[in-house]
Amino acid sequence: MAKVLMKGNEAIGEAGIRARGLCYFCYPITPQSEVAEYLSKRMPEAGGVFLQGESEVAVSNMLYGAAGAGVRCWTSSSGPGISLMMEALAYIAAAELPVVIVNIVRCGPGLGGILPSQSDYRQAVKGGGHGDYQCLVYAPASVQEAVDLMPLAFDRAERYRNPVLIIGDGMIGQMMEPVEFKEHKFPPLPPKDWATTGCKGRKPNVVNSLYLDPYAEEKLNLRMVAKYEKMKKEEVRCEEYNTDKPYQALLVAYGTTARICRTAIHKLGEEGIHVALLRPITLFPFPRQRIYELAQKVDWVMSVEMSTGQMVEDVELSVRCEKPVHFFGRTGGVVPAPEEVVEAVKKQLGAGKGGQA
């Protein structure tokens, strides 16, 4: 298929439809309203469901209901709206329902601003809702990757019976890049024999997260943990840049920030400074092992983020605190320029030399 130039938000909408995510609930919020606006036109054409709910609280519970009835469903939102979905997300995780939630992250906390940010990392990766649960979290770095991750997200949500989050900063939603909607093939999915589809010919199914018996709750918790362990083994995705040559420093960055780092690395290379990059594509599970291995060749690692430093903690854990992990970031909707990353790396390299002398 020929490439088309599309805005990230619209491309995500189209990718959702092509991944047969034909049931979409939403509530408007900048910078992702174009997903909803696009789908308000496209969904009826595709024979799917488009509904604007009265709030994100309602939307997330619509997802709970639809997913519980075995329907492939999804939504998109941004910070303040995602926060309102956290209650339902905890219920969705506990009831082990497959749901895809796209968060086009804006800066916060509170109402914050509508400019790009990566400040919802902790909310996405460490919980956000209450209780012992994890979401599988993907972080695309381009419109094409966002489009490619949508079908994967639906597949994994249903395969693991677990919510999947796609975290894109505001730029992924707003920029236009050429995209190609490829065919994605997956092995057959397990039947949804747990869904509330009417009990004709079988025992009634119940979608529930209430466990008054502590042993039953513990059993659920452990079953969920087993899923997360499996994800850690099988679902880690990351991309490397410049790791095939000798390098003096290792950067870790995801989403648009990783692209900014690549330009910075290119500029540093022109000055004879060799730096490598690891870009996590899954934020949970986190590419811990690979970061550990890559960190063996350098004195320090740097996490570069559009936040005040959230992923940096996971990078520290990845290198098992054996090496210093530095942080560089801009926040509040300010996007770091490649030149700033160059400076931060040089400063750190200089500091390292000073320390040795």
Partner: protein, 253 residues
């Protein structure tokens, strides 16, 4: 020399960011005039919403709090319960009040919270770029109902005054319009009553202002005024729905 027109003290000197032909500014001014006339400015706290008027705290010259989307009535309740001596009002759009904040406004009204809610009904989500609101008119085109509001799918526009007037708890509920001078005079009278009831510690008060959003309606300011007259007012009758005097009969006629 007699001054016949001046900026109310309760209005700051900051120029607003509203689009040409938007009536948010008119509503701000009326509130400011009323607060000045009733001498309430220095003990007023305004709760501004998430919507185009999100920066209203810059335009008012009294204390304000910014609420999260739809929650202004709960924030107002907190203030009013903790400090009953303060004069508290919420200023909310139709997405804010009638969609995401529906629970908060209904319960605040039902508890008879003694604050004033000013409800700006412009039949659309303004700030986020013109999506459908619960108040969007049947057939009206918005960015999330490109084929026009289909009442079979999403129901009819919500009439907030009628809904709140049906509550047994006494209150003051009136719908006004702020798009034309003859309506503006009445609007001011209603707002003044609303704040007076609050100052007298009488009841919850609610004033719905039919407003314009030329930008998202895709109309010129002049055509937008006409649209309020021809499309909104026939569906949203401009009148008083309830006064504490009618003692909660909930008569919506």
């Amino acid at each position: 020399m007699k001054t016949i027109f001046k900026r109310p003290e309760a209005l700051a000197e900051t120029p607003t960011h509203y689009c040409p032909g938007c009536t948010h500014g008119v509503a701000h001014r009326l509130i400011a005039e009323v607060l000045d006339e009733l001498g309430l400015r220095e003990r007023t706290v305004g709760i501004v919403p998430v919507g185009c008027s999100v920066l209203a705290f810059n335009y008012f010259n009294f204390d304000c709090q910014e609420a999260s989307h739809g929650r202004a009535p709960a924030v107002a309740t907190g203030i009013k319960r903790g400090r009953p001596d303060l004069i508290v009002f919420t200023y909310q759009g139709d997405g804010d009040l009638a969609s995401i904040g529906m629970a908060e406004i209904v319960h605040a009204a039902n508890r008879g919270e003694k604050f004033t809610a000013v409800f700006i009904n412009n039949a659309v989500y303004g700030m986020t770029g013109g999506q459908m609101a619960p108040t969007t008119m049947p057939g009206q085109v918005t960015t999330t109902c490109p084929a026009g509001r289909d009442v079979e799918q999403v129901g009819y526009p919500i009439r907030m005054c009628e809904l709140l007037a049906s509550l047994r708890t006494p209150g003051f509920v009136e719908r006004v319009a702020v798009h034309q001078p003859k309506y503006i005079i009445k609007a001011k009278r209603a707002l003044k009553k609303a704040f007076q009831y609050q100052a007298d510690n009488r009841c919850f008060s609610f004033v719905e202002c039919l407003s314009t959003c030329p930008t998202n309606w895709g109309l010129t300011p002049l055509k937008a005024v006409q649209w309020v007259d021809e499309t909104m007012i026939p569906y949203y009758p401009v009148k008083n729905f309830k006064s504490p005097e009618t003692e909660g009969e909930g008569d919506a006629d």
